[in-house]
């Protein structure tokens, strides 16, 4: 791996394992204050995104640790 030349403090360095380990809890806490799925309805680049994802702006959220994320979104 080629390291960045930008200075980063140790407390701002995250390993893949640390990131994966905290995902479920971050998601749980975030869902306490806002709906589970909050993807914007439109933004720049919509044209090619919608072409790629069958009219949506991205693929479905399919996180194995939270199956409810794939439930239909309330509008």
């Amino acid at each position: 791996m080629t390291d960045s030349t930008l200075f980063v403090r140790p407390e701002r360095c995250i390993t893949w394992e640390q990131w994966q380990a905290g995902r479920a809890e971050r998601r749980r806490l975030g869902n306490l204050v806002a709906p589970a799925v909050i993807r914007r309805k439109q933004s720049e680049g919509d044209e090619y995104l919608r072409e790629t994802y069958g009219g949506e702006r991205g693929p479905p959220f399919n996180k194995a640790f939270d199956p409810s994320a794939d439930a239909p979104q309330k509008e």
Binding site: V37, G58, P59, N62
Partner: protein
């Protein structure tokens, strides 16, 4: 390269797949002396797992050099099977898009975050900038209120308030950025913080919340 491509293609989780792809792209550009940094909704998604990001990851450039369009094309074409859209701005691999944008614009004096993936390291915009920028977009920019951005800001605020965020957070720096002439949204920042603290307090007392 083959191992990296296989890892990305095999990953079924959107967020992890996007982070791996950002790792590959970052590695390729760093090998040529550039400093890519992930910004925008995908940066917030990596910080929060908030189900916010779309199918693209935005990358800007820090450091003294910004790649020319020709350099971007040459470097990205190292990835077998990659597709291009928009004259070298947008690139697709394994069902995901990467947008290569301009020089990064941020205010926080604190450093970027660095996520190490199995493929490569990914630099991410300072979390203080990400949060203040989203509060501004939600409550101050143009119409004055954007529901999706507001939800996004609340999820990121939750991450930093509960220490469930993956990196350290500097409140003094966040308030300095919020009070800057670029954003001037200290009141809005305080309001989001208060609302989130209130919701989280309800959870602690067992009386909440979003159905």
């Amino acid at each position: 390269m083959q191992r990296a491509l296989a890892l990305i293609q095999a990953e079924t989780d959107l967020n992890a797949k996007a982070l791996l792809l950002a790792g590959l792209v970052s590695e390729l550009f760093r090998e040529h002396g550039f400093e890519p940094v992930v910004v925008g909704g995908s940066a917030i998604e990596f910080y929060t797992d908030g189900a916010y990001m779309s199918g693209d990851t935005d990358i800007c450039w820090a450091g003294p050099r910004t790649p020319t369009m020709e350099q971007r094309e040459t470097i990205m074409r190292q990835i077998p099977g990659i597709r291009c859209h928009g004259g070298g701005k947008s690139w697709q691999f394994a069902g995901l898009w990467v947008d290569l944008l301009g020089e990064i614009d941020y205010l926080a004096k604190k450093e970027f975050a660095k996520f190490t993936t199995p493929i490569g390291k990914v630099m991410i915009i300072p979390v203080e900038d990400a949060l203040v920028g989203r509060v501004y977009a939600a409550r101050k920019y143009v119409s004055g209120y954007n529901e999706k951005d507001d939800d996004c800001a609340k999820k990121l605020m939750t991450a930093v308030l509960t220490s469930s965020g993956v990196v350290a957070f500097d409140w003094d720096e966040a308030y300095r950025v919020a009070g800057s002439s670029k954003y001037n949204c200290t009141a809005e920042f305080d309001a989001v913080r208060y609302e989130v603290e209130t919701e989280l307090a309800k959870e602690q007392s067992g009386t909440n919340l979003i159905p």
